[in-house]
Subunit: 192 residues, 2 copies
Amino acid sequence: MIKELKEKILKEAIVVNDSMVKVDGFLNHRLNIEILQKMGTVFYEAFKEDHIDLILTIEASGIALAIMAAQKLNVPVLFAKKGNNTLHQENIYSTIVHSATKNIDTSIYISQDYLKKDMRVLIIDDFLAKGNAVFGLMNLIEKAEAECVGVCIAIEKGFEEGGKQIRAQGIKLVSCAVIDHIENGLVILRDE
Amino acid sequence: MIKELKEKILKEAIVVNDSMVKVDGFLNHRLNIEILQKMGTVFYEAFKEDHIDLILTIEASGIALAIMAAQKLNVPVLFAKKGNNTLHQENIYSTIVHSATKNIDTSIYISQDYLKKDMRVLIIDDFLAKGNAVFGLMNLIEKAEAECVGVCIAIEKGFEEGGKQIRAQGIKLVSCAVIDHIENGLVILRDE
């Protein structure tokens, strides 16, 4: 758990309801460079021995975090795009991701040129709840016959199933902060 | 002009037609950290004396570039979001941006909480053609009664009007590479 991130969440996160918080002040709209750098360092330390070839994230909020880790791991970032790309349907891997926050299905895709067979891929994203985005990215990795080496998350919702499911698959998951639950409009973080 | 960027454009840019190139290999889909860092340094050198308070960009491709400059200028990044945000209509500045590439109008918005009166703002974006995205961001800055101190661009299309119009307004514009024109499927860069 990163102390500054913990403090920021407790101070600035806006509780929308019992399962949703907004952290637009430092992660999802305005980007706090110092906290992002600290998270990038945590991700780097966790995966520096794992021979990562590529970081895979999803536009838009995952990009800044991915960049921070990529600078240290010295690998490129590939960000999955949202929407239907009619220009390149023959050269993409695509899948559907359900957003619980917005309650919509979104098509995401990557170019086959940049995710190749046997690449060792690290997934980075901002939030982990039910894990829909992460499982969507894993699906793209599988289609490319590449390997998902691990998953890095800024804020995990510990009361949702995503984290458990990823760990149950034997995949290394690093979360910089875990929300245990939300109670009477307050965020309760897990100490770990 | 950054040598490595110039080489990447000449080597990897895919010419779509006489006015459009794709640089998905290092800027718009896969992100090349080294080249992004060099561009961030160019932006930093150009604006390090200008007392920047905030970098403003637009999701998704502008974020990585903005982060690179923000790390050096030691300021936060605010990225304008696309789409209609029904949650916060009372607390946003919004405007419409026409995308010539996709031939669609997109609504972009920022929270009023993060762009305040008199802030000195640096705009960063990946491409500059007709300037629609930049003028949209300037419009948001104007609505907030903040100040646009300058504009930083990775690749300017010198044959489009955006760059001329920004310079004609007396606004400092820094482009890392300028495409003079596209001829018989080849990108011709401007030497400067």
